[in-house]
C-alpha cells in the first residue's frame, strides 16, 4: 500500500489545532507493520499467480517457460479431472452441507434448553472443532477401518452386519464416510451459531403462542424458523464455502481415492501442483476456484446486507 504523507489530513479528531498531524502520524505508524506484512503476502501472490497461469511452468521441464496465454486455463477447463473433481465436490457437498445444517440445528435446540445436559453439551461441542482437521480425519479413518475399525466392531456385535465392511475402500461409502467426518467437525460450529440466533428470540413470543394454544411444533414452525432465517442463510453460505474447500480431511482419510471418488476440487488443485508439478495449470485452476469463491462470498455479503435491512 502507498502510504500517504502524515499531516495532509484536514480533519482534526480532537479539538486542538496542530494535533491533527500528530494523530495522522500516529495512525500511519501503528498501521505500518500490519500493512507491510499484508501487502507482501497479498499483492505479490496475486501478481505471481497471474504470471504463472499465463506461462508454461512444469517443474519436470525447468528451463522452458514460454508465454502461453490462456492455454493453461483452456487445458484445465477441458480436463477430465475437472469434471470428475467437480462432481465429487458436488456429491460431497450435497451430503455434508445439509448434514452440518441439520446437526447444528438439532444440537442448538438442545443447547438452548435449561437443564444440566445442555451445560455439559456446551463444553463438549467445542471439542471436535477445536482440534486440527487432520487429526479428526485420522480418528475417523481409523473408526471406519475395514479390518479392525470400531464401527464395524459395534455393528457386528449388534448383529446389524455379518462381515466387516471396508468403508473407505468403496467409492460410494468413502464419500459418505468423508461427509460424516466433516459433519462431526463442522456441525458443532453451526450449532454455536444457531444457538446465538436462538438466544435473540424473545421468550415472550413462545409464552403468548402457548397461551393461544399453539403446540411446540407449531411454535417451532411459526416462530423459531422464521426468526432464525437470517442466521440459517448466513451459516448455509459459510458452510457451503467450507465444504467446497475441504482439503485436510481428504489428505489424511482417503488421499482422493478410491478411484478418485473423494478427489475434491481443492485436492485436485493440490495434486496438479504437488503431484503433477504443473505450476501453470495449478495457478490457473486456483484462479478459477478463487473466482468462484469470491462470487459466493460477494453473494454472502449481499445477502447479509439485505437481511440487515429486513
Amino acid at each position: 500500500m502507498v502510504q500517504q504523507r502524515a499531516g495532509e489530513s484536514r480533519r482534526p479528531s480532537i479539538g486542538r489545532q496542530g494535533a491533527a498531524g500528530r494523530e495522522s502520524r500516529y495512525a500511519y505508524l501503528t498501521l505500518l507493520p500490519v500493512l507491510l506484512i499484508m501487502a507482501v503476502f497479498s499483492l505479490y501472490p496475486i501478481g505471481y499467480s497471474v504470471y504463472l497461469s499465463l506461462h508454461k511452468e512444469v517443474l519436470t521441464d525447468p528451463l522452458n517457460h514460454p508465454f502461453v496465454g490462456f492455454q493453461n486455463f483452456n487445458n484445465v477447463l477441458h480436463s477430465y479431472y475437472l469434471i470428475s473433481s467437480l462432481t465429487s465436490t458436488l456429491v460431497f457437498m450435497v451430503m455434508a452441507v445439509p448434514g452440518v445444517m441439520v446437526f447444528g440445528l438439532l444440537a442448538s435446540l438442545l443447547l438452548n434448553e435449561s437443564f444440566a445436559g445442555a451445560r455439559i453439551l456446551r463444553v463438549a461441542i467445542l471439542l471436535p472443532w477445536a482440534m486440527p482437521a487432520v487429526i479428526s480425519g485420522i480418528v475417523w479413518r481409523w473408526i471406519l477401518n475395514g479390518d479392525y475399525g470400531v464401527l464395524n466392531s459395534a455393528l457386528f456385535q449388534l448383529g446389524i452386519i455379518h462381515d466387516y465392511i471396508p468403508w473407505l475402500s468403496s467409492p460410494d461409502l468413502a464419500r459418505v464416510g468423508l461427509a460424516v467426518a466433516h459433519v462431526w467437525r463442522e456441525g458443532p460450529l453451526a450449532a454455536i451459531f444457531f444457538l446465538a440466533g436462538l438466544q435473540t428470540i424473545p421468550t415472550d413470543l413462545y409464552n403468548s403462542a402457548a397461551v393461544d394454544g399453539a403446540g411446540r411444533m407449531a411454535a417451532f414452525r411459526r416462530i423459531t424458523l422464521p426468526l432464525l432465517r437470517p442466521t440459517i442463510v448466513i451459516v448455509l453460505i459459510y458452510e457451503t464455502i467450507v465444504a467446497a474447500t475441504t482439503f485436510d480431511l481428504v489428505y489424511v482419510m482417503t488421499g482422493g481415492g478410491p478411484a478418485d471418488a473423494t478427489s475434491l476440487i481443492s485436492w485436485y488443485a493440490y495434486a496438479e501442483v504437488f503431484k503433477f508439478l504443473d505450476l501453470g495449470a495449478g495457478a490457473a485452476l486456483a484462479f478459477l476456484i478463487a473466482l468462484a469463491l469470491v462470487g459466493v462470498i460477494l453473494l454472502y455479503l449481499r445477502v447479509l446486507r439485505t437481511e440487515e435491512q429486513r
Binding site: 499484508m38 438442545l110 445436559g117 462431526w184 489428505y251 493440490y270
Partner: protein, 301 residues
C-alpha cells in the same frame, strides 16, 4: 403453559436427556475411543471385536514416544517398523514446535492487532476505510490459491523450514480477523474516560496502554485464543513450508505417522491423543471467550 409442562414435563425431560446422550456419544465417542486405544497394546488393537476399554491397560505407547523404550507387544511379535518408530519419536519435538509457533503467533497477533484496531476505532485519518477494506479483502484469497506464491516468498526470505516462516504466514491469516474483531470490541467501549485523559495530556499510545487495554482484556483473550488455535491446527502451509523436525508441527508429524501404510496402530492413537490435548484444554478453558468470539465473528459484517 404450566399445566402443559406438568403433564409433559417428565416425558419431555427424558426425551431431552436421551437426545443429549446420543449427541454426546457422537461428539465424544471418537475422542474417547482414541483415548482408550492409546492405552492398549498393538495386539489388543488388532483383535475382533475391538475392546472398548483396554483389558490390559499399558502406558508403554506413551513411554515409547517420550523415552524410546520399545513396547513389549511390538518387540515380541517382531512387528516393530523402524520407519514409523522414528516418526512417532518426533512427536515431543513437534509438540514443542507447535506450541512455540502458536504461542508466538497469538502474542504478536494481539500486539500488532490491538495497535491497529485502536487506530481504526478511534482516529480519523485519510484512507482509513480503504486500508481497512484492503486488510479484510486479503482474506478473500483461498489458501490453495496462494500456496505457491507463499512458498516463493518464504523461500526468497530464506525462511523455509523455520519457525519464523510459519509465524509470518500465520500472522497474515489471523491478523485481518483480529483487527476487525478488536476494532468492533473497542468501538463498543465507553469513550468518556479516554476523552478525560486526553484533556489531561495523555498521548494516544498512553491511552491505549493505560485505559483501553485493561477494558478490552476479554476481547484480547478471545483474539489470542483464536490465533493460537488456528495456528496450531493449520496443516497445508505447515506441510509445504517445513522440511525437517526443526520446524515441523503436530499436524504434519501426526499425519505422516498415520498415513504410513505400515503404521503401528498403538502409536497412531497415542500421537493423536497427544495432538488433541493442547487444543482441547484450550477449548475447555476458553470456552466462554471462544463461543462469544465465534458468535461475534458470524453475526457482524
Amino acid at each position: 403453559m404450566s399445566g402443559y409442562v406438568a403433564r409433559h414435563g417428565l416425558v419431555r425431560r427424558a426425551a431431552l436427556w436421551a437426545a443429549t446422550l446420543v449427541m454426546l456419544l457422537f461428539i465424544l465417542g471418537p475422542i474417547l475411543w482414541m483415548l482408550s486405544s492409546s492405552f492398549q497394546g498393538e495386539s489388543e488393537l488388532l483383535t475382533r471385536p475391538s475392546h472398548l476399554l483396554p483389558q490390559q491397560p499399558t502406558v508403554a505407547n506413551f513411554g515409547y514416544i517420550f523415552t524410546g523404550a520399545v513396547p513389549q507387544g511390538l518387540d515380541v511379535r517382531g512387528t516393530l517398523r523402524s520407519r514409523i518408530s522414528q516418526e512417532a519419536r518426533e512427536v515431543p519435538a513437534a509438540l514443542e514446535n507447535s506450541a512455540i509457533i502458536a504461542l508466538t503467533v497469538a502474542v504478536l497477533n494481539v500486539a500488532l492487532g490491538v495497535l491497529a484496531a485502536y487506530t481504526f476505532s478511534r482516529i480519523r485519518f485519510r484512507g482509513r476505510s480503504l486500508v481497512f477494506n484492503f486488510l479484510l479483502g486479503t482474506r478473500l484469497l483461498p489458501a490453495i490459491a496462494v500456496a505457491i506464491p507463499y512458498y516463493a516468498i518464504v523461500s526468497a526470505l530464506g525462511l523455509l523450514d523455520s519457525y519464523f516462516g510459519l509465524i509470518l504466514v500465520y500472522l497474515t491469516f489471523t491478523l485481518p480477523f483480529t483487527i476487525w474483531f478488536l476494532r468492533d470490541y473497542i468501538v463498543s467501549l465507553p469513550i468518556d474516560i479516554e476523552e478525560a485523559a486526553q484533556i489531561d495530556g495523555c498521548g494516544r499510545l498512553q491511552l491505549l496502554l493505560r485505559i483501553v487495554l485493561p477494558l478490552a482484556a476479554p476481547g484480547l483473550a478471545a483474539a489470542a485464543a483464536f490465533a493460537f488455535m488456528s495456528s496450531y491446527n493449520e496443516f497445508l502451509f505447515a506441510l509445504l513450508l517445513t522440511q525437517t523436525i526443526n520446524s515441523q508441527t503436530m499436524p504434519v508429524i501426526v499425519s505422516s505417522v498415520a498415513t504410513n501404510p505400515d503404521a503401528s496402530l498403538a502409536l497412531i492413537a497415542t500421537s493423536v491423543v497427544l495432538a488433541m490435548v493442547p487444543p482441547l484444554i484450550f477449548a475447555i478453558v476458553f470456552q466462554r471467550f471462544l463461543t462469544r468470539g465465534l458468535v461475534a465473528a458470524l453475526g457482524k459484517s
